[in-house]
Point group: C2
DNA sequence: CCTTGTTAGTTACAAAAAGAACTATTACCA
DNA sequence: TGGTAATAGTTCTTTTTGTAACTAACAAGG
């Protein structure tokens, strides 16, 4: 591999972000994978419902920036698995509110604890100040303010 | 959205990483998408060949941590589009060296400049020290050391 | 040499995603 | 009102992907 110009791909930020996200996501996936038989999009939906309570599919689309067809299919699966219930809005009958069933709540709490431990593992690799800064920067990059 | 327990999804690191990566990746994708008609994996291959020069598919697999089937398919496409040429090794006739054609070189330089500008845009949102720290942390999280 | 094992890269098949088009409902406004 | 546009969510079709199995070339020990 002879050449090497001044541009180092490995310090290109979007590249680094992707690699880091992929790595942590992969590692985390192993922890919950076969526990409730949920796919990534499914437990992301569960997370949102657990953390924020009753909300519509579109609310989740906006917050999580996941495509609506993915949400739609994930919700269908979650309803089949009895983790989520739909409730048609009376005001606007196009939308439906989603809530976790007791089984969904239990799964959420369980996954949340796994997430907390995982998060703590990452945090342990750095100082508190560094982690705080990382969160701040990622939030800004993600457009969460 | 009534509820909100002590676990804030928005500070969960893998979540933040994903969101930030998705955001920057989406924004960047728009810039090169229709320019050369390359998919993400394809220009990642171009980037590697441009930055490091002649190398084999396996070299790219190792460096970029992209699955070899993806590389294989990307290379096929890039050869069809005349951005890359294959050259079978004389020493070991299983492997083939990949290099950019002049057209590939031109595309690389162009995309590299876009990437630089994009990277600079991100960097401008923070101090130099912060960006340095971010890169360091992301590298460690990504397992690049 | 022959057998077994390893490596480079491709291909086949199944799972997942992205996009576009669709249904149903509501909103706007001339 | 009536007609057009917008929104919530689903479904259909086409691309991408991920996994596993495959071909071809080399390597090493008996």
């Amino acid at each position: 591999m002879p050449k090497n110009d001044d541009f180092d791909l490995q310090v290109f930020l979007p590249y680094l972000l992707n690699q880091a996200a992929e790595e942590s996501s992969l590692a985390f996936t192993q922890l919950y994978k076969n526990k409730y038989g949920m796919l990534r999009t499914e437990w992301r939906v569960v997370f949102h419902l657990g953390a924020f309570g009753k909300m519509t599919a579109t609310d989740i689309v906006v917050r999580a920036k996941i495509h609506k067809t993915k949400i739609s299919r994930a919700v269908t699966k979650l309803v089949e698995k009895r983790f989520v219930v739909r409730e048609r809005s009376q005001d606007d009958r196009r939308q439906e509110f989603l809530t976790l069933t007791p089984a969904g709540e239990a799964a959420y709490r369980d996954l949340r604890d796994v997430a907390k431990r995982y998060d703590a593992d990452i945090s342990r690799k750095f100082t508190d100040g560094e982690v705080r800064l990382l969160r701040m920067m990622l939030k800004r990059l993600a457009g969460i303010d």
